[in-house]
């Protein structure tokens, strides 16, 4: 059976014109309320974004007018050895840090959610490090794991274990920074804890009646319920990893022995450029080597990669969530 729809011309009556005017007025009212946000978006996001893309096609030393150089900055990237190093380091953080941060925060939140007493104190203790300024957090961690006289090295020494050199060893510098980042991941932990606490109790009770154990309850009830928050956590962690700057600079300069020397970029990436992240190299190019055109090109690449990575992740997780809820393919 086929249904046909026929267009019916309704004569424009006075009440209809009134409705149209009302709709128009409503539209303008909405626009007026949105205007500050839209203006802010255009000024503080749209303009810098477009300007950055514009600068990426120029030679620009921050002082003199930019000179159009076409794709020179983009082609130069292929020959820039440290561009590749920085891209690799950042990719390492995106993969490792994102995964570990979400798992770590979820693990801590899940444990806290099951605690019967002392919840407030433990929750506060787990959250507190995230309030530490990044420079202070990294320096504290550096002093704790410092070889020879750091408390961790001394502790390991009691068991005859020689600890790694952490920030002084190219193989351990990135894992060291990852540990700092995990230590300060209390913000994500709190968000996940709130999501876990928000899961309806009835679902757990029903599952319990059906004989589901703690692991199955966590897997089939907790996880699907908090998946949108996990998605947020993953996206947030990817962006955090892509923008990793302060911790890398502080760890590198402290480990190189020049944390108290000003104005130097010679130690960026110490040791052996293992902590030279993409934003650190971008900063060095723009503000230390005065090549803002190249820095803008790097920023454009970073933006495109961040956007693509986030879009793919969101799409995949939405698809997985849809299937979990019984959609096609479930």
């Amino acid at each position: 059976m086929t249904a046909t729809l026929e267009r019916v011309d309704v004569p424009r009556t006075a009440p209809a014109r009134g409705r149209s005017r009302a709709r128009s007025r409503h539209r303008w009212t909405v626009l007026a309320f949105m205007a500050p946000a839209v203006l802010g978006f255009l000024l503080f996001f749209g303009y810098p974004l477009v300007a950055t893309v514009g600068f990426s096609f120029t030679e620009y030393d921050l002082i003199n007018p930019p000179e159009w150089t076409g794709f020179e900055n983009y082609t130069y990237m292929f020959g820039d050895k440290l561009f590749r190093t920085a891209a690799y380091n950042t990719l390492w953080f995106v993969v490792v840090l994102t995964g570990l941060r979400v798992v770590f925060a979820l693990g801590v939140a899940s444990v806290i959610a099951r605690l019967k007493s002392g919840v407030g104190l433990i929750r506060t203790l787990c959250y507190l490090p995230s309030l530490t300024p990044p420079v202070a957090a990294t320096l504290v961690f550096f002093l704790v794991v410092r070889p020879n006289d750091g408390p961790l090295d001394a502790f390991l020494g009691w068991f005859g274990v020689e600890g790694p050199l952490w920030f002084s060893d190219p193989a351990w510098a990135k894992p060291g920074i990852t540990l700092v980042m995990l230590w300060v991941s209390g913000d994500l932990m709190i968000i996940l804890l709130a999501a876990i606490m928000d899961v309806p109790r009835e679902q757990y009770e029903a599952a319990e009646l059906d004989g589901a154990g703690p692991v199955r309850r966590w897997w089939h009830i907790t996880l699907p319920n908090i998946s949108p928050v996990l998605l947020f956590g993953a996206v947030n962690s990817i962006i955090l990893a892509l923008q990793l700057f302060t911790q890398a600079v502080v760890a590198g300069s402290a480990a190189s022995g020049s944390a108290d020397a000003t104005g130097s970029t010679k130690d960026l990436g110490f040791p052996e450029n293992s902590t030279l992240t993409f934003p650190v190299w971008l900063y060095a190019q723009g503000f230390r080597y005065f090549d803002m055109g190249y820095a803008a090109a790097m920023a454009t690449v970073l933006f495109i990669v961040s956007f693509a990575a986030t879009a793919v992740l969101v799409q995949r997780m939405r698809k997985a969530s849809y299937q979990e809820e019984g959609g096609p393919g479930a």
């Binding site: 300007a51 120029t58 130690d267 005065f290």
Partner: protein
């Protein structure tokens, strides 16, 4: 209907982009205009930004205030803890100081070539300033390709520091004069613990550690940064000799042991500095360390000497860099600013007083020879080096310190045993530096 807003948005984007480029261009400078000097009794205010802080800032303020002897109605506003980023931001924002000071001589190429610091030549010519009062090497790190956009305000000269007790305990009566002797003395003064770890390093060979930086060490091997054509010239026997000297010592200690030892040492400008703590018998450092040691580690009996060289004829060579002072683009009172710079760079009374306060080396020949300069036995080494005519200035390029990082990175790989062919590696670094300078177009 939907196409119209999109098209409009694209137009806006294009317009914004063009505006951005135009905005980035900033205001053109009053190039060519020569600001007149203020009258003796004129009332004016000069803002000075410097990277100094704490006690040193007070000393610099005192020196700046001495300008009032010439201009009694001048007011000087000295703001400390200002780095090059802030000065650049001030220029871009149209609110730069009248006078800027910087520790980063690596940036002089950019300051002069971009015009972010104004060319001082017209003022120098007008006032017939005799630049030969400044040692050649000091002059070299305050200009770029003939554009003089800065003047020196004291300098740092680097030499050998040695722990007298440690050398005496090893039966050594005089500091080494050649790098071969340095290796020998370093080995004899090194102490290993029973487990094989390092307790005291005779000399830390690790590149980029403390003052072990390529520009500081290179002059002692006769190594030059650029060849006659201006291209990077690191693939040379001199650079290879310097890196081989370094690697010989690294291999003596053992790279792993050395890294573990280094990782536990304190920061360069803290009380925890390894030399202050008696963990190094010798090191290369600037004259300012004499004051730090007397203040922070009076228990260390130390001596100073010219740093050993690869060839005897090079002995007495030393690296120099220092504080630079200039007029930023867009300064509101450039005429008076130049007068203040001239005062700080050439007034012997002011330079001597400031050198005594900061324990730095005077940057003019007259001040170097001034009897009021407080010179003890350890500081005299650096005064003699400065006056000896064998100073080597900081290499000046338009790419900040990118060239130093390139060499430092290479040296780090080399000392870790990751470079199979030294000369081929140095050629790669040459290419890296040349490419970046070529890209800068300056």
């Amino acid at each position: 209907m939907r196409k119209v807003p999109r098209a409009a948005l694209l137009c806006v984007a294009a317009a914004v982009s063009l505006t951005a480029c135009a905005a980035g261009a900033g205001k053109s400078d009053q190039a060519g205009g020569l600001a007149a000097a203020p009258g003796k009794d004129d009332k004016f205010t000069l803002t000075v930004w410097s990277p100094f802080s704490g006690r040193e800032q007070d000393e610099v303020t005192k020196a700046l205030e001495s300008f009032k002897k010439k201009y009694p109605n001048a007011e000087i506003k000295h703001e400390g803890s200002q780095d090059d980023d802030k000065i650049t931001a001030g220029i871009r924002g149209g609110n730069p100081p009248d006078v800027a000071l910087s520790f980063t001589t690596d940036n002089i190429g950019q300051f002069c070539s971009s015009g972010s610091w104004q060319d001082l030549k017209p003022y120098i010519d007008r006032d017939k300033v005799d630049l030969s009062q400044i040692p050649d090497a000091v002059r070299s790190y305050t200009e770029y390709k003939g554009t003089r956009c800065a003047m020196p305000m004291l300098s740092d000269v680097y030499g050998l520091y040695y722990n007298k007790d440690m050398l005496a305990a090893a039966g050594i009566t005089a500091p080494p004069k050649t790098t071969a002797e340095l290796v020998d003395v370093a080995k004899r003064t090194t102490k290993f613990a029973p487990d094989g770890s390092i307790e005291v390093a005779g000399f830390m060979p690790t590149m980029m550690f403390y003052a072990n930086r390529p520009p500081i060490l290179a002059p002692h091997f006769g190594a030059k940064w650029a060849g006659p054509g201006g291209k990077s010239a690191l693939a040379s026997p001199e650079w290879a000799e310097m890196l081989t000297f370094q690697k010989e010592l690294v291999d003596f200690f053992g790279f792993e042991k050395l890294e573990r030892f280094r990782a536990g040492l304190g920061q360069q400008y803290s009380n925890d500095h390894a030399f202050h703590q008696g963990k190094m018998a010798m090191m290369i450092d600037g004259e300012y360390r004499t004051a730090f040691l007397k203040d922070q580690a009076p228990q260390i009996k130390f001596g100073t000497a010219p740093f050993p060289t690869s060839k005897p004829e090079l002995y007495g060579t030393a690296f120099t860099a220092g504080t630079i002072i200039g007029v930023p683009k867009g300064a509101k009172n450039p005429g008076a600013a130049w007068e203040l710079i001239r005062h700080m760079a050439f007034d012997t009374d002011t330079i001597v007083s400031l050198a005594n306060g900061l324990k730095n080396i005077p940057s003019t020949k007259a001040a170097l020879a001034d009897p009021r300069l407080e010179v003890d036995e350890t500081f005299k080494t650096f005064i003699d080096l400065a006056a000896g005519g064998k100073l080597q200035g900081n290499p000046v390029t338009p790419i900040g310190d990118a060239h130093i990082k390139a060499v430092g990175d290479f040296a780090a790989s080399w000392q870790a045993g990751k470079v199979p062919d030294l000369m081929a590696g140095l050629k790669d670094v040459d290419k890296q530096i040349d490419d970046q300078i070529a890209k800068s177009g300056k």
